[in-house]
């Protein structure tokens, strides 16, 4: 006869052994259990996305920049304020029409596989990036050719001047990967660079925890502030907050500013910067699908309809700066006066609509709604526009189709948050020029084209003047109806000092330093 208790104990013991054995099967583990200390030993940071790929030609910047900066060098560096500085390229110069860039490269850099870095390698990397599928591929769209003049001289030929090229070469277009790794089966998960750290594949759990150890042969050891880097992926704001409160990480981006008081309470510093603008995008400036939007007075009325300070307080918890402009304060086109150009003025809005021939309720804007923004955002939008007599017809769009639908010009206007690019030219290529992705109706305007030409080809002073003129023109023409630039917050613990990076959600890796 079977002994029931014996069986039960046997079954439980077997389950326990299986559980332990299974846990041991895991290839690696998160190191999140250890507390963060200012030893200079380990920097543990939180990220909100995993690394999609380490293959440079397909790599993404912004949220993925920490992974790439750990293992790769870029041709140029940029300071926290965006000033471009030498790195693998020590000197550079343009020809007179800014279509040929010649760069002098370092001769003492070696990849971790032993391959030597030279101008030929740099040229191959640039051309490969241009032909790859990186989200930032368009940054090198005007790169006609790249070639090595000699081992340390690189020459880039452009089909048209690119005023932001040097800045771009400090981001993923400028990353340098060993050519021996090009096209190898594990290129996407096994980086081979010349950077300050090396991916520890054994300790890494892809998609969850990435561990990097110091590259012992790094040519710039002064940039290696830590012996080890750990990057933990947190998929929810709650998990980030808990990791902060538990002092498990030295730094992390906050995806929800309402948690700022809590992170300050935990002794962390909230490092703020403004990377985006939030508001309405008025795409259909020619009135193709929404005739009323073709009238500048209607677009201006929309701008006057919103109480931006109230929007910032209600939606952005007061963290940010109200604005009527899409230009970043870091860009040459920024003009502080444009931040307050449109005030909250219902009377003026109604008068403009009347002048344009539209009475109360005669304009209906069809706008997509997405779970990406709060219901309060849409409710306030509807309310403010309704107050001046503009109706809003909301169309619920699946989050998976939202971006695609907007960029395919399915809607003449929408609520949206977009990057306030750190350079004027990037702003133009993203949002303004006829071929810009966020100009889905391909609006063309003689004044815009002319000023853009000056920004592209003129001297620095000419370009700066034209950029500010362009900003003012776009604001007055009401191409957009921004409400505010929300604060992007990066939290750091008391043991870590950091400088935020203009235009990037994450501080650059070498700007994390243990506090003495």
């Amino acid at each position: 006869m079977f002994n029931f208790r014996k069986r039960l104990v046997t079954a439980l013991a077997a389950s326990a052994i299986a559980a332990i054995a299974l846990s041991g099967c895991s290839p690696a583990a998160s190191s999140a259990g250890s507390s963060a200390k200012a030893s200079g030993g380990t920097l543990t940071i939180g990220t909100i996305v995993a690394s999609t790929t380490f293959a440079v030609n397909n790599s993404a910047w912004a949220n993925e920049s920490p992974y790439l900066q750990a293992v790769y060098d870029t041709l140029l560096h940029s300071d926290p304020d965006g000033t471009v500085k030498p790195w693998l390229a020590t000197k550079w110069s343009y020809n007179s029409d800014k279509t040929v860039l010649t760069m002098k490269l370092r001769d003492d850099v070696t990849f971790t596989d032993g391959t030597k870095f030279d101008a030929d390698v740099a040229a191959k990397n640039l051309l490969r990036f241009r032909d790859g599928t990186s989200p930032q591929k368009a940054y090198l769209a005007t790169l006609a050719d790249a070639k090595a003049v000699d081992a340390t001289t690189l020459q880039l030929t452009l089909s048209a001047p690119n005023p932001s090229l040097l800045s771009f070469l400090s981001q993923n277009p400028g990353l340098q990967e060993s050519p021996a790794a090009f096209g190898t089966p594990d290129e996407k998960t096994t980086p081979v660079g010349s950077g300050p750290y090396v991916l520890d594949k054994k300790a890494t759990v892809v998609g969850s925890t990435y561990v990097f150890t110091k590259n012992p042969r790094y040519w710039a050891p002064q940039q290696q502030h830590y012996a080890k880097l750990v990057m933990n992926v947190y998929s929810t704001p709650t998990a980030i907050l808990n990791a902060i409160k538990g002092r498990q990480i030295n730094g992390a981006p906050l995806t929800d500013n309402s948690t700022i008081p809590q992170i300050k309470g935990a002794g962390y510093t909230a490092n703020g910067q403004q990377l985006n603008f939030f508001g309405l995008l008025l795409f259909d400036r020619a009135g193709t699908t929404t005739p009323a939007l073709g009238d500048v007075r209607v677009r201006q009325a929309i701008n006057y309809a919103f109480d931006r300070k109230a929007m910032l307080k209600a939606i952005g918890q007061g963290y940010g700066t109200v604005t009527s402009s899409i230009f970043s304060p870091d860009s040459s086109g920024y003009d502080k006066a444009m931040d307050s150009y449109y005030t909250y003025d219902v009377k003026k809005a109604k008068a403009l609509l009347k002048e344009a021939g539209y009475g109360d309720g005669q304009i209906t804007l069809t706008m997509p709604t997405s779970s990406g923004f709060t219901p309060a955002t849409y409710a306030l939008t509807k309310q403010y526009l309704g107050d001046v007599g503009i109706k809003v017809d909301e169309v619920n769009v699946a989050p998976t189709s939202f971006l695609g639908d907007l960029l395919a010009a399915k809607y003449g206007s929408t609520v949206m948050q977009l990057k306030a690019a750190p350079t004027t030219w990037e702003t133009l290529t993203l949002d303004v020029l006829p071929k810009a992705g966020w100009n889905p109706f391909h609006t063309t305007d003689g004044t815009v084209d002319s000023l853009a030409k000056t920004i592209q080809t003129g001297s620095k002073d000419e370009a700066t003047k034209a950029a500010q003129q362009l900003n003012e023109y776009i604001v007055k023409q009401a191409w957009f109806a921004p409400w505010y630039r929300p604060q992007q917050t990066y939290a750091t613990d008391p043991n870590t000092s950091v400088q935020t990076q203009t235009g990037n959600a994450y501080p650059y890796l070498w700007n994390f330093v243990p506090k003495k």
Partner: protein
Amino acid sequence: MLAFIARRILSGVVLVVAISVIAFLLLYAGGGDIARRLLGEDASAQTVAQKAHELGLDRPLFEQFGSWVAGVFHGDLGTSWFTSQPVGDAILSRLAVTLSLVFGATILIAVVSVILGVLAATRGGWIDGLVQVLSLIGTAIPGFLIALGLVVVFAINLGWFAPTGYVQFTDSPQGWLSSIALPVIALSLGGIAGVTQQIRGSMLDSLRQDYVRTLKSRGLSTRSVVLKHVLRNAAGPALAVLGVHFVGLLGGAVIIEQIFAIPGVGQVAVTATSQGDIPLVMGLVIATGILVVLLNLVVDLAQGWLNPKVRLS
């Protein structure tokens, strides 16, 4: 017995094939522009089209499904579009983490439920009342709220456990225990409430049977009657409930892993599904489908093992 196992495996295979087809169609129906989501809002339309071509998303649906099926038959589940990791590796590494949570929770549920259920049924009175109230509370409070409460009290305020992350057993047994303690407790409470009630009810039914009176009249101690005979008869239905809970725990792990940032199947399932990482989601569907089929088979066999009366010939 062998014919029974073969039939169950065959029906399991049909089930897994069916859910694979349905999952594939659903993913494509609600997938939207996957290449655009992969590249983000700043990528140009040309780059998006190039990426879609690279991923094979511009091919007819049946052709994409055919390629995926052919890959499966060759042991290749593809590569995650959002982490570049082979799907097989991603699932194996994460399944181990999730199963360690689920096994841990199952053991906790079994042990605590047996103790509470037996106590409630045999002692009655205020103990029974207390167990019933606790069971009601355990059933009523959602697991994620329990998890959040546990984190705040035991990880953040008291600092006894790590609030997030997972430590491998081979790296540090103590760290491993610390990293799974709170998730396992959060995962278990609902199950403890349900299984305790089941054991209590089955025990009470069995205690009223004639054979119990007979055994007692023959001079067997109450302890011996309860543990050797009554509990054994009550274990069958309880095991069935535990089996159902085991499958439910896999679902519960989805939320718990998110809260504790544990790199398990649940966490990756949520991320992959929201991103539209079709190769990874399809791999997860296959893996969890097979797991559930096997678990149900094991529960059926275990019931026969524990109670000869339900054994199949």
